[in-house]
């Protein structure tokens, strides 16, 4: 064996290479993450893009009502195909979304037939579920979310509150970092949140995983300067 090579591949040398690789790759990833966070907050396209694949995350009760209120004033030919996702235990939300889509077909101004899809996702945790079993169900939910995100690869994500959106948004963020798909993530905080953000909103805001966060009350705008105050939606 050549002396040069036996020195190079000695334990110390190999360790150095490994460490350098890890530091190098970590640095690249960190740079990429900062790049993603920086450009996420900037307007996405400089000229009008074609129709964008859109993921709409629905939550129980009031959340869905607010989301449908927003969708009713958005141009559907710009946001298609539309994928509606609701928690598996939430029966009402997808039903209401179907009603909205049916009313769009009736309006018949645009080609909307066949551009909407309705999916269910496993919940990370049910209300009142023990935290021990929650670990397992959260892992299942994450895997399911990953599967759905790989299939859908949305360019736009609309969500407004329930925990259902967190796994999807986190995965979307990593897709951005890895260059798999760049999603513009919009989060509309619920009208019921006047002085404090919800846990979902707070997480996405602090971790800078949301492109634009919208709040409906001025108190939240003062508390969270990067949020956009848009008045009441309801």
């Amino acid at each position: 064996m050549d002396n040069v090579y036996s020195c190079f591949f000695s334990d110390m040398g190999f360790l150095n290479v490994a460490i350098s690789l890890i530091i190098g790759i970590s640095t690249l990833i960190m740079i990429r993450i900062f790049y993603v966070i920086y450009w996420s907050s900037k307007p996405r396209y400089s000229k009008p893009p074609g129709p964008l694949t859109t993921l709409i995350v629905l939550g129980s009760g009031g959340h869905t009502a607010e989301m449908l209120n927003l969708l009713a004033v958005m141009q559907m030919d710009r946001f298609k195909p539309r994928y509606y996702i609701a928690a598996a235990t939430d029966d009402m939300s997808l039903q209401k979304a179907r009603v909205l889509e049916d009313s769009l077909i009736k309006k018949a101004e645009v080609e909307v037939v066949g551009t909407s899809h309705f999916l269910q996702i496993y919940r990370s945790r049910e209300v009142g579920q023990s935290y021990v079993t929650s670990v397992g169900t959260t892992l299942i939910a994450l895997t399911h979310a990953l599967w759905l995100m790989i299939k859908i690869r949305p360019q736009v994500i609309l969500c407004n509150g329930p925990g259902t959106c967190i796994p999807l948004c986190v995965i979307a963020f990593f897709f951005k970092v890895l260059g798999i798909r760049w999603s513009s993530i919009f989060y509309v905080e619920s009208i019921a949140r006047v002085r404090r953000l919800s846990l979902s909103g707070l997480l996405l805001y602090k971790l800078r995983m949301v492109d634009q966060l919208f709040v409906q009350w001025p108190q939240l705008k003062s508390k969270y300067p990067r949020a956009n105050y848009v008045g009441r939606l309801m």
Partner: protein, 178 residues
């Protein structure tokens, strides 16, 4: 519910709703002698309670003895009709219920459920009360709120508008509008 137009006209119905929740403390408070009497003194004739998942059963009354007529049920496929025929609504603090009632321009007392773990609901009720769109109370203070309320002080809630958000999103994504 129902009855001829004449009898509905002379009725002043108080509709209590807890949505899909369990809110026994509200139903209990409404079912007390003092609250019933306070409502009757204010000129209401009927009390209808939608008790949802609650376990406390209120006492029915026909009101023939010159007091408030009381009835209850658990759920309804559409409480919109009950809201429409009510002269006063007493509601739990769910945002959907609050805005459905405000949209119908009904005077409403929103009661916050203090037994709920994460009570962010009170923020919305308190803010709207501060803006004089409704009255806010807790089950224990319901009687005082009813006796002291002045419906004339209420200001109509102007419905919100989702267009600013839609416009923002469109601009952000590069869609041009005019």
């Amino acid at each position: 519910m129902g009855g001829s137009d004449d009898s509905v006209k002379s009725k002043r119905i108080v509709f209590v709703t807890v949505g899909t929740t369990c809110f026994d403390s509200l139903v209990r408070a409404v079912d007390t002698q003092e609250v019933r009497e306070a409502l009757f003194k204010k000129g209401y004739t009927d009390l209808v309670i939608q008790m949802g998942r609650g376990s406390y059963i209120p006492t029915k009354s026909t009101g023939e003895d010159g007091s408030l007529s009381v009835d209850y049920f658990t759920f309804s496929s559409s409480i919109a009709e009950y809201l429409k025929s009510a002269s006063l609504v007493i509601s739990h603090a769910g945002s959907g219920s609050i805005f459905e009632t405000l949209r119908l321009k009904k005077p409403v007392i929103v009661v916050v459920n203090e037994d709920l773990m994460d009570n962010h609901q009170s923020e919305l009720a308190e803010e709207l009360a501060e803006r004089n769109h409704l009255f806010c109370a807790r089950p224990q203070t319901l009687y005082q709120t009813i006796s002291g309320m002045d419906l004339g002080s209420l200001v109509a809630y102007q419905p919100g508008d989702a267009t600013p958000v839609a416009n923002f999103i469109n601009r952000f994504l590069g869609f041009n509008d005019e």
